[in-house]
């Protein structure tokens, strides 16, 4: 279903809503294209004219400064005009329906919507209703998907490790509520990772998570054993109040990544985190800042990946 919506009749990427169901060739093409966009960042003029004349709207129903900023910077580096709309304080708050908002923006000549929404499936819903010349990119929907985050993570891994087929990747933390983890799992399996492990307490794992093609560990030490990459997930503070966890301190004691624990992984193991990090909750400060940490590198790669996705999707529609 997602693929039918994402790819047009000619097999081109019209929307980018989820990694699920996209072939390995597409994931590699996105990363290859992002690689070529990295040279833009070293130019004196950090801009290419590819999307000149196009208008991109960042439609954020949930606040997220980092993701919105990297999408904005990506669009501007492609020379698009960018509108940032924080929907929580705009028209829909006055009672206007989502579709009315979309149609009004379309009437202003918008070419792309970048959508962040608390409800799973929101980006798909918008993609089903936009005009044929408009592309939709999912910037995170509910617990469902965050495909550009997953792709920038894959891009970071590929930069350091090259061959996915040799990799054991441990994803640690709140898998249950994480759209990032779901997208990462799909991407890693599509790219042929040798083993994907999820490491979490039972309360933070989805039912039948094994069906996603992962090995489940409830013990961090076992989960880290000989891992090539460890991806820590952010723990939302509200999970403490939801009685899913006893306390932050307890979570850190059982599932926090410390330097001592990291020794179980391979010596060249990458430490990743989609950010923003809670120091002393998911990860010890000394690990977040250590030489194996590529957390800040991930942020930089986010711009190149988002440029690639924007260029590939808008290049698939007739201008």
């Amino acid at each position: 279903m997602s693929c039918v919506l994402q790819l047009d009749a000619g097999g081109r990427l019209r929307h980018f809503l989820t990694v699920e169901g996209l072939g390995r060739d597409w994931l590699e093409r996105i990363m290859d294209t992002a690689e070529s966009f990295e040279s833009v960042a070293v130019q004196k003029v950090k801009k290419v004219p590819l999307l000149r004349g196009k208008t991109v709207v960042n439609l954020f129903f949930e606040t997220s400064t980092r993701t919105r900023t990297t999408f904005e910077l990506a669009a501007k580096r492609l020379s698009a005009d960018v509108l940032n709309i924080n929907v929580a304080v705009s028209a829909t708050a006055k009672g206007e329906s989502l579709l009315d908002t979309i149609r009004n923006l379309e009437a202003m000549g918008v070419d792309m919507f970048v959508v962040r929404h608390a409800e799973s499936g929101a980006a798909h819903f918008i993609a089903r209703h936009v005009a044929p010349h408009v592309s939709v990119i999912n910037a995170g929907d509910g617990r469902h998907a965050h495909p550009t985050q997953a792709m920038l993570d894959m891009f970071t891994i590929r930069r350091h490790k090259r061959d996915f087929s040799r990799l054991t990747v441990a994803i640690v933390g709140d898998i249950l509520h994480s759209r990032v983890a779901r997208s990462q799992i799909h991407a890693l399996n599509t790219l042929g990772a040798r083993e994907v492990r999820v490491v979490a307490p039972r309360t933070l794992l989805p039912v039948a998570v094994e069906r996603l093609g992962v090995r489940v560990c409830h013990d961090l030490d076992a989960g880290l054993e000989d891992a090539d990459v460890v991806i820590m997930l952010r723990l939302q503070k509200e999970r403490m109040q939801g009685a899913l966890l006893p306390s932050e301190r307890e979570f850190f004691r059982c599932f926090g990544l410390t330097a001592a624990r990291l020794r179980r992984a391979r010596p060249d193991c990458l430490v990743m985190h989609p950010g923003p990090i809670n120091r002393g909750v998911e990860i010890a400060s000394e690990v977040a800042d250590c030489s194996r940490s590529v957390i800040l590198e991930q942020v930089g790669h986010g711009i190149a990946i988002r440029m690639a996705v924007m260029a590939l999707t808008l290049g698939a529609v007739q201008g």
């Binding site: 070529s36 966009f37 990295e38 833009v40 130019q43 004196k44 290419v48 590819l50 007739q318 201008g319």
Partner: protein, 170 residues
Amino acid sequence: MNAEALDIDTLLQNLADCLRRQIETRRLRDPLLVGIHTGGVWIAERLRERLGIETPLGRLNIAFYRDDFSRIGMHPEVRPSQLPSTENRDVILIDDVLYTGRTIRAALNELFDYGRPRQVILGVLIERDGRELPIQPDCVGGRVSLGPDQRIKLTGPDPLKLEIHTVEAP
């Protein structure tokens, strides 16, 4: 010049001779040789040896500067440009075939995004008719006259070969 006369070595020698004269008369200082991906890079690599230029070769991929992106979308194999700052540099820009002039327009735009060059000299292995923009080379290896339904393409990198194809009219 007809297709049979398109000998690569002769064309390269003609182009190198012309560029050498330009380097002298225009008093180029430590010129930066830049090839346009892909054929232009192959030609620039050979010219670098013939001209004795020691500065590393610049590689320009104009895919992000094309004026037909909204019609044809992203090229499937985009390789990143590799170029130092062009600020106040003498640049020798090299391409394999000069046809409509749109590639050179895009390349000049990209060069200026890496800095403001002191001057740019354009050298092409082969020039054909069919210009759509007012762009002319400073040095050419040879000229060929082709019909609107004909295309000339360089294949390589080893050996380099020029081929003429007939295409269907759009």
